[in-house]
Symmetry: C2
Amino acid sequence: MTQQPLILYDIPSTTPEKAWSPNLWKARLALNAKGIPYRTVWVEYPDIADLCKRIGAEHTGMRPNGPHYTLPVVQDPNTGAIVSDSFKIAQYLDKTYPDTIRLVPDGTAAFQAMFVETTTYKVMFLMYKTFLEKIVPLLNPRSSEYFRRTREAFFGVKIEEVAPPGPARDETWKEMLDGLSLVTKWEAEGKGIFMMGETVSFADIVMLALLHWVKIMEGVESKEWKDVMGTDDGRWAKFYQALEKWIWVDEGSYGDK
Amino acid sequence: MTQQPLILYDIPSTTPEKAWSPNLWKARLALNAKGIPYRTVWVEYPDIADLCKRIGAEHTGMRPNGPHYTLPVVQDPNTGAIVSDSFKIAQYLDKTYPDTIRLVPDGTAAFQAMFVETTTYKVMFLMYKTFLEKIVPLLNPRSSEYFRRTREAFFGVKIEEVAPPGPARDETWKEMLDGLSLVTKWEAEGKGIFMMGETVSFADIVMLALLHWVKIMEGVESKEWKDVMGTDDGRWAKFYQALEKWIWVDEGSYGDK
């Protein structure tokens, strides 16, 4: 295969795997699942907007002061394509590399989009509130300062006050576990461990990224990881084991070289 | 075809079509879309539990005082099957009558279940609050009394106080229209007018039942119907027109004869 490796722009952390953000993991897992060669380029938070403007990556939202740029972005030197947003990346990879595992089977794009949005509110955002305080120290200094400043502006309080340990955080965590059980309930309609039964699709990539986030943030010995693995009679433990083979990160390099 | 007609147990109203409840319409539209011969048996609210127990229909929920029975129920004299719940009915019909339009294509059962639940909260329940007051007078006397009594127990206030005309009801209605736009946003990921693109599935039956409910409750000259038809640049008007052919009701008979 004469195919050149793609580039995945990701945000580094000081954790052993370096990759830590669930939305970034969604794109990485899509590439890993499909076995498409790529290399990671690590970008600190304050450099994301400039990078995106320079390489021509689309913004993913609008803010009062203009377009908002986010990672993941995938750059494909084989086609010249630059794609933002993990779901759009999965769809791009499906279209461009049709001989790899299909992550958005025909006719399911709208369902996958609904799944991404629903789990963002019912699972990811609740994890995010719980983990927020722990994200700050695991980022490199420039990203850490940027993350704290922008998130405190968003929430209007110190990061430590968003979900301090105690009943409110416990409640948020419980609500997140209920979100997992909701997905389990839907999946019971299919006849398999995945959202589409026996067939893996982007929805499962999303769930794998979210489960793995708990492992990254809390560690395998934590109450939180045990909560997740025990939820729905161990169903998420089985799910994680089935797809764990896709969880790996290359060394990568800094900057766009 | 030597197939005997199935029986759909439905709740009557004094509207011209008699059928009026969105969850019942979901089952009726599934039968109509598939072209499966059936006849309607009309059952008043206070008679539902006794009917279900007598014919052996499963309850669909639990209440403090025991199992809770609801319609739709479909009875199939060809197989002896008795099926409660519109989504289960659609799945039963797919399995038993495989030569008709497939409403739950392979691998989509979990997605369809997610769609049913999401639209129940984001669309149907908001319509329900808005229409509540208008449902009472369109039911026959025994059902009307039962409906008012049980719903007032549920909400803890008079039906007229749940969403009285004014800013609160306007806000609920606006939220419902936002729910429709959410579905439109997801569907934009597919490339067609339906949730699965060009392929009709149970998700579309759900949306058709909900849209038709607005027509039944408010009429074609109402602001509400015009709101819905105008939402998302007329997308729901096109959708309704495409599937309107499935909206019909047989005369039916009272009781289980």
